[in-house]
Symmetry: C2
Subunit: 428 residues, 2 copies
């Protein structure tokens, strides 16, 4: 089967892809942007739409204890380690339509194309639509894939969801899952049974626009350290308090934000890729006022890097910066809860295979470290050989202006289909 | 009448002072701290308590169109320019008991002492309990005194109150005032009819603790420029967006806060007193999330100085800083509404008289610029000779830990009473 024939079969699936993209957009419509709430109506309806399309392709559906949806194209040898592809169906609040969902639809289209060519898999090919990849819902990301791979801390089941305030356990149960079965370390997917995991995902920055390439073969996924709720405590005081007496928690927060940005700049200059994001950064709504020196401040922190050693070094730097600012401002800085996401190593063989497929298809490809975390990182952390394709996006992600040319997505699907055909299919 | 006799008569009023302090504390009890809401039950009940005590002293009560309460001890010559004393009865949210109320009670106690000595005023002595001095209620301070002196912008009548969302006009009407009569420039108090205005107020910083003095004769009240709601607009973006693409509104806010603090430090070194407070400083609660680079940010600003020229120069510096940060961060910074409070010059003759009275009473006094704004600033701005006494406070104001020794307040009342006796009383 030549790459060109596979590419033509993929191109024929463009109406399916467009119909599904439109379908999930309609489900998530929440101007400005798209909201598909995790373990809620948005994600549920998107899952139902995808399930219906999968049934139409003859795939075998199964829902696991975390309510992830597995859609399997059964292979000739059902006991052989399977190939998995997939991504997530939830979104952030008022985000874009492609972050997550495009990767699930890509898997459907690739399978449809290969089936249409009369191929059949030598082993199972399972398309996985994971739950709740976005951290906005429970202040913890990658929940579906973590749960599937036994990486979810049990305590996470008690986390309250944004918008509803109800626990993750309750939400999982509502969606047909079994939270009781999600004891930490219990694997719903046994890594030894998976030969490879591939994820297609929109790029979350305009680096492919800069590079003038439709897609990227991902070179690595950063690990992260997250503090969802850092609390700074100084002292509320009258606007008339002279500077020398003040213990201004907001200025301590400003110090911390800018010190971390300076650290990032320094690391960039040294050629060590990292990122630092402070998404929530605020005085306390029930206490702050124009004429009160703020004694309370809260902020979130997401710190990421591509190597475990680098991440650990950055965390040490963070602790030093925090101690210095707390002393200088006369405030206490409590970093609070700490969540860590493992660095996701991309498998060299898969990377080479994807790059080779792109080259043979004549598709412009540019190797790129993913700046964002992804479900794929959990599969890599579980020891499963993992690869990712990133799709060009002019306007960044997690915002209503996220943008993906369907042609670029079709290019990624073609590469995915070629890879699947060569790695795991045969003539029927 | 010797200062010593007046001091003894004031000391005899300590039970009255304590009873009234306890009374307003009970009215405002709102743990942690005290809340007496302006143009609401807290301020109304405190006004009623004070009115009852004033009636007990035989004072003549009158409420004006802004629902300020005037309590007059009629003089021998009722047409002569009167002496006014007073302060406010509202508080911030969860503030202390003394900010404002102590000055009103001080006036009652001084009058009670002078009456007890058989003195009578040559002209009216009016104790004024103003409304809504605190800016937290309508994002605009000194509302009662501004209204009384024709300094209230008409547009302020439409401002919504914290907590109720109802307009200032509605609140004034509820409290028996006549908002329709408060056209800008219409004076409820004609400055030419007032010979002097004196305010006793708790200090809002621990400078008198540092100076080991019970009271301060105030040397000046700063004017201020306020921007209640500065809006910074960048672009919401995914946590994975590399630094070079980001337009982070929160980091622009951090830049602005720290640049203004650096300006303050610089001015201090140069010996030019000022203050800068950013009380509200926050990402947007309906959009911010741990994994979204914040594209929106809001903050308040209160900038103050003791000379009009200095304040104007600082405002120019502010505009320069804002332009520089907006360009560097790729964001827009909209300063929004601008409110200005005039610099309050203290009358040299009154300052000397108060200092002299303190010296003759043997009361430790330390001259101090008020770091905070006060009703007295409006009287000074209206051209009325104005003076202030500040009372020692270990823990700053606008917080639940505000602290005043009753002995220190009694010292201020003694100075006030001596000044009133010598400036405007005679034997009955």
């Amino acid at each position: 089967m030549t790459p060109a024939r596979i590419a033509a079969a993929v191109a024929a699936q463009r109406p399916l892809v467009q119909r599904l993209l439109d379908g999930v957009a309609e489900i998530g419509a929440d101007p400005p942007g798209i909201t598909r709430d995790a373990f809620g109506p948005g994600e549920n309806q998107a899952q139902a739409l995808v399930a219906e399309a999968a049934r139409g392709l003859g795939l075998v559906l199964a829902s696991d204890a975390a309510a992830n949806l597995a859609m399997t194209w059964p292979g000739a040898d059902r006991s052989a380690p399977r190939l998995m592809i997939g991504s997530h169906l939830d979104s952030v609040l008022h985000g874009g339509n492609f972050d997550g969902a495009a990767g699930v639809l890509a898997g459907l289209a690739a399978i449809a194309a290969l089936r249409g060519l009369g191929l059949r898999p030598r082993q199972d090919i399972t398309l996985l639509a994971t739950r709740c990849e976005e951290a906005v819902w429970f202040q913890l990301g990658l929940i579906g894939s973590r749960a599937a791979l036994g990486l979810l801390p049990v305590a996470a089941l008690g986390l309250p969801r944004t918008g509803t305030g109800r626990s993750l356990a309750d939400h999982i149960r509502d969606c047909g899952g079994e939270p009781e079965a999600l004891a930490a370390g219990t694997r719903l997917i046994e890594p030894a049974t998976v030969r490879a995991f591939l994820e297609v995902h929109i790029e979350q920055a305009p680096q492919l626009v800069e590079a003038d390439a439709a897609i990227a073969v991902c070179t690595g996924i950063p690990g992260n350290i997250r503090h969802p709720r850092i609390r700074i405590t100084g002292e509320d005081a009258h606007v008339g308090l002279p500077r020398r007496f003040r213990r201004d928690a907001a200025l301590a927060g400003a110090d911390l934000a800018l010190a971390l940005e300076a650290l990032w700049r320094e690391e960039e200059v040294a050629g060590r890729a990292m990122a630092c994001t402070i998404g929530r950064f605020h005085t306390l709504a029930d206490r702050h006022a124009m004429t009160v020196v703020p004694g309370g401040f809260e902020m979130s922190l997401d710190l990421r890097a591509y190597e475990a050693g680098h991440l650990a070094a950055l965390e040490q730097r963070l602790h030093g910066i925090v101690a210095r600012i707390a002393a200088a401002r006369g405030v206490t800085i409590d970093l609070g809860e700490r969540n860590a996401g493992a660095v996701g190593q991309m498998d060299p063989g898969i990377r080479a295979g994807l790059a080779d497929a792109a080259a043979r298809l004549g598709i412009a490809q540019h190797p790129l470290g993913s700046p964002a975390s992804h479900d794929a990182a959990d599969f890599a952390a579980a020891g499963i050989p993992t690869g990712m394709l990133l799709v060009r996006n002019r306007n960044g992600s997690h915002n209503p202006h996220e943008e993906m040319e369907t042609a670029d997505l079709m290019a990624a699907i073609a590469v995915l289909a070629v890879w699947l055909a060569e790695a795991g299919c045969e003539a029927a």
